[in-house]
Symmetry: C2
Subunit: 424 residues, 2 copies
């Protein structure tokens, strides 16, 4: 443990003590393989948090593709390169017909920067709507969409928030109409204040908001409202995309066809890779008006990593496995729920499951402390999860997509044991 | 050539025809090694443009380090990891004493986003000064610094430009005082308009501006003026850093100690890696106010690539080679200059050389078309350069740092030959 203390101290000094770390006693990781992560003392953990390594840590096919490419060629995108064209073609082939053309970037932040500008250029608008518990990245323009209050405090505000569809806490009969009405009101507030409307940017499954059970028609009807007001719908697929939900994209779960999609996290297996896609018309307009260029993006390295990830998903039955393992895990957790007052709501899709930790199932009062205790206790038992959501009280269970039934069974045992120990 | 046409067509369709490409007949590259790039037909080119592969394309030590790391572990930065701490320590060890602490990002754009916010937080200011021919990245906040007019068109403008120190075209006796006076006036314009001043962001060697011969004391005196007004000096080392100039950082050539530095391009050898560094105080303030986190940054992969690049620079005598080869090439080009009216000015530092292409050495009228012809003709002879600068008429010669005297001699022969063919 002396090593950890020393390393932690050096890290505080050179990266800043404010550089975020998980867990009260941070993990010193040295190796990864499949759903396993190993610390410096050789202890194995089951990773149930990381979505970047979605095809598993250090997948041999991905490792081989990256290694081969960096030994062959890695340059910027102002030369022709087969790999990057092939990658963009394969990626576009997985989207709905209106998504034809891609702009690659290095991060989800950069992708959302492009998406916002693209929507504003295409509509000659400025007004963007996000949700009140959103996170889409860390640049100035994108950070403006982070956990914004629904209260509009300035008539010139170009970003305004609507409440996310929080069906767990909604009181009333018709959450869908309620939340759509709020969207409509917010668009009208832009009109009233002479801020021309550009569009709505949301995570397709509202992951940071807490992965709510979204009313079936909410997003498709929201798209209609946005379109009727002259805006575009941008779906942020950074968390929901690439088979996380068991479908290729979260927007397919929601039954909606976005105008612009942004992608990131899992698509490069840890090589910084993200992107924006839209119709050819939208992309060409953006390109001609900005001459967008990104030094590290659309590189042979990004292409090699991206193509290798697609290979694994296509060749290893990932999609059906996600559906089967995810559904079983969700059902098993829902079965436990009635026994524990703390498990306010168990919900999710594919291999993305959230459990709202509450003090009381009737009042639904969020229990952040309890959620954090569960996270720490499960880590001690060798299972890595986190907590998130609008109230930060949701256990966030999001393993690599190669997570299997056996991993799930082991987790359930540890989960039950932890519950008994903490609440037994 | 049928393959190139087909690939180009597919690229236009899937990435957009507006996705930038070099050369009237684009290059289809398939392999790189050292300073050599090879096209699909096996033709070899000497790379005299790429600064990302600064230690040479596909350097075996870098390839091995990246391959080993992706096979071992690659996760986000909220776990302890030896590699990233070591990398930040080594990088900080190369900076002046006031630069103590680093924040890693995926791109120069992201690094400059952080730097702008850091300066604004630290000073409680908003006003940023850049030059009138700058480029620091492609996000909304950073793009606002791109080729901005020196004319202030709005009293609320938070970004204002000063003329870059263009000593080649300056008419008068004392360019240094002239340009400093303009800086002072611009700071006063912020004061007059009640826009609190935050600082100045410049490329240490004004690379995009055209790599001017900066008056010896310009930047150190600019720093004094900026500091006296309560602002911070941010040096963008994305192009000038990591021994490009023969010194570790361009600011060392300029004799100035910046408060914040940003780094990018060469530091990861093509793995998207960039960063910001400043005093511990500035970084901690930024971290505590933003809880900045970047999914792909400060990863074991970035660390492996970054450390390997530092290894090569330290172990292979890169720095002294850059100085020797760069100086000889500059002298050789300056020797040719008097024979050709088109070579308006030959200048540079280390392995970064610019030649202003002009119609007439007296009027100094920029000859963009001529510069483009030189670029195309040299490509046909197997040498890859580009054109840039405030007037886009500067031949931009910026080979990987492993460029040798023999490469230089071969280039000079081709350069002379091209001049004779085009202007002979």
């Amino acid at each position: 443990m002396g090593d950890i203390t020393e390393l932690h101290g050096r890290r505080n000094k050179i990266l800043g003590a404010g550089s975020p770390l998980f867990y009260s006693k941070p993990l010193h990781l040295v190796r990864g393989e499949g759903v396993s992560l190993f610390d410096a003392e050789g202890r194995r953990y089951t990773d149930m948090y990381n979505n970047v390594a979605s095809v598993g840590h250090c997948h041999p096919h991905v490792v081989e593709a990256i290694s081969r490419q960096v030994a062959t060629l890695n340059v910027h995108s102002r030369y022709l390169h087969e790999g990057i064209v092939e990658y963009a073609e394969r990626l576009m082939g997985r989207h709905h017909d209106g998504i034809e053309c891609a702009i690659l970037t290095c991060s989800g932040t950069e992708a959302n920067e492009v998406a916002l500008l693209m929507a504003r250029q295409a509509t000659n608008g400025r007004g963007i709507i996000c949700t009140n518990a959103a996170y889409h990245g860390n640049s100035a323009a994108v950070r403006a969409l982070t956990r914004l209050s629904t209260e509009v405090i300035s008539k010139t505000a170009e970003v305004r928030a609507v409440s996310f569809p929080d069906t767990y806490r909604f009181v009333g009969d018709d959450p869908c109409s309620y939340y759509l009405e709020e969207l409509d009101q917010t668009i009208q507030s832009f009109r009233r204040d002479n801020v021309p409307f550009a569009g709505m940017l949301v995570c397709s499954i509202f992951a940071n908001e807490g992965l709510p059970n979204v009313p079936k028609e909410y997003l498709s009807k929201a798209a209609e409202i946005v379109h009727a007001a002259g805006g575009l719908l941008i779906c942020d697929e950074v968390q929901s995309g690439l088979c996380r939900t068991g479908k290729w994209w979260g927007y397919q779960d929601m039954g909606v066809l976005p105008d612009i999609v942004t992608m990131g996290k899992p698509i490069g297996a840890g090589v910084p890779l993200a992107g924006v896609a839209a119709s050819g018309e939208l992309v060409e307009k953006f390109r001609s008006e900005t001459r967008y260029f990104n030094t590290f993006a659309a590189s042979p390295l990004q292409a090699a990593a991206g193509n290798a990830v697609l290979d694994v998903i296509e060749n290893e039955g990932i999609q059906s496995s996600v559906l089967a393992v995810g559904e079983k895990l969700l059902c098993d957790l829902q079965e436990i729920q009635p026994q524990f007052e703390q498990m306010g709501d168990v919900r999710g899709v594919g291999l993305f499951i959230g459990i709202e930790w509450v003090l009381d199932q009737t009042t639904k009062e969020p229990d952040v402390e309890g959620a954090m205790k569960m996270v720490e206790a499960l880590k001690e038992k060798g299972f890595l999860i986190s907590h998130a959501g609008a109230h930060r009280n949701m256990l966030k269970i999001r393993p690599p997509l190669v997570f299997q039934h056996t991993d799930s069974a082991a987790f359930l045992e540890a989960f039950n044991e932890t519950l008994r120990e903490l609440y037994g």
